[in-house]
């Protein structure tokens, strides 16, 4: 913590020793696999929010240009596409996190 006021030399040495010991002793941060409820909520939120926002943008543009319902339909579909892409991105992230958690557990067992 370099932003602190100047410390006596021995105090700093003590701090360094504590930090070194902490690095040695502390286990690496535990990685947990996402729970099924978390995964379900995440997918739902990603898909739903994109569709809602897409349709809302279409609705607003329709109101602006007086072209109801053409743009609402177009942006609903684009929103759905965005939602599906976001779910794919999310599923990649979840797969990665699950794999990391499994690997961490494996390493724990072997130790």
């Amino acid at each position: 913590m370099s932003e602190h006021a100047p410390e006596p030399e021995d105090l700093r040495a003590l701090g360094e020793r504590i930090d070194a010991l902490k690095r040695e002793e502390a286990p690496p941060p535990r990685k947990t696999a996402p729970t099924s409820a978390e995964v379900a909520i995440r997918f739902g939120a990603e898909l739903l929010s994109a569709v809602i926002v897409g349709a809302a943008i279409g609705w607003g543009l329709d109101w602006l240009f007086g072209t109801r319902p053409a743009l609402t339909i177009v942006f609903f579909i684009v929103g759905a596409a965005t939602g599906i892409r976001n779910v794919i991105v999310a599923s990649k992230d979840i797969t990665r996190r699950t794999a990391e958690a499994v690997a961490a557990e494996q390493a724990e067992k072997e130790r």
């Binding site: 947990t32 978390e38 939120a45 739903l48 929010s49 994109a50 929103g79 976001n86």
Partner: protein
């Protein structure tokens, strides 16, 4: 016996202050259970942090080391996502993280109201983060901030992708607030449904009374899980806020 598991999420005036405090226009402003528990969170959080560091010892007491731990935890989170430049947002991220953590935690008390199970609250928190990100982005990069939506690709793919990215960006506040709110809502509803089973079976008599132990055991397990969810959702919310702010700071070049 009918138990409504959603009743716990009703926002209503507290019983000892049934009259509106004041009016804004025609709208009466009540002191609701929501306001009460936010006040509880605010007071206890302030007391915890102020009392923890007011002595400012070199060798920390237990409370002080708890406060230091949360400081370093949030600091590490910011450092990991956006580097040293992100530390200007430390107060914002720390406040949001601690507020959500305490709201989730207090929500697990038996009589408490879970503030974060209201989408009004979570959406407001997200709005603060996203608006900060947008303002930061435009102040730092000017119109160049719009490059966030551009992906290097042939024009025929790029145009629809820009649209996609734009909708995706606009959907962020909604999806982020929905995740926190839905997680808290789902967990607390599940606990109350199980509690309804216990009461229903327990009062049925005979062999059913013994069977009531099964949902009871499930409640214990779910409560333990809820503690994990309470922490994890605060963490997820804070780290996603960090990522969005970091994007506004560095555009794409950092990841």
């Amino acid at each position: 016996m009918a138990i409504n598991p959603m009743e716990q999420f009703e926002v209503k005036p507290v019983s000892w202050a049934p009259h509106p405090l004041f009016h804004i226009g025609h709208y009466p402003i009540y002191f609701t259970n929501q306001a009460l528990w936010m006040l509880v969170v605010f007071v206890s959080l302030s007391l915890f942090l102020i009392l923890a560091v007011n002595k400012n010892r070199v060798v920390p007491t237990r409370t002080q080391s708890l406060a230091e731990l949360s400081y370093e935890f949030v600091g590490g989170m910011i450092d990991m996502t956006s580097g040293p430049a992100g530390f200007r947002f430390f107060p914002l991220i720390f406040t949001i993280f601690m507020f959500i953590l305490f709201c989730n935690g207090f929500g697990l008390l038996p009589i408490a109201f879970t503030v974060t199970s209201q989408i009004a609250i979570t959406f407001f928190l997200t709005a603060v983060v996203i608006l900060t990100a947008i303002v930061t982005g435009f102040v730092r990069h000017g119109a160049g901030f719009l490059k966030l939506f551009v992906i290097k690709a042939p024009v025929i793919i790029m145009v629809p992708m820009v649209l996609l990215e734009f909708i995706s960006f606009c959907a962020r506040p909604l999806s982020l607030s929905m995740r926190l709110f839905a997680n808290m809502l789902a967990g607390h509803t599940m606990l109350k449904v199980m509690a309804g089973f216990v009461i229903g079976l327990g009062t049925a008599g005979g062999v059913y009374t013994v069977l009531a132990a099964a949902p009871e055991a499930l409640i214990v397990a779910l409560t333990a899980l809820e503690f994990l969810v309470a922490f994890l959702q605060a963490y997820v919310f804070a780290i996603l806020s960090c990522i969005y702010l970091s994007e506004a700071l560095h555009l794409h070049d950092n990841h």
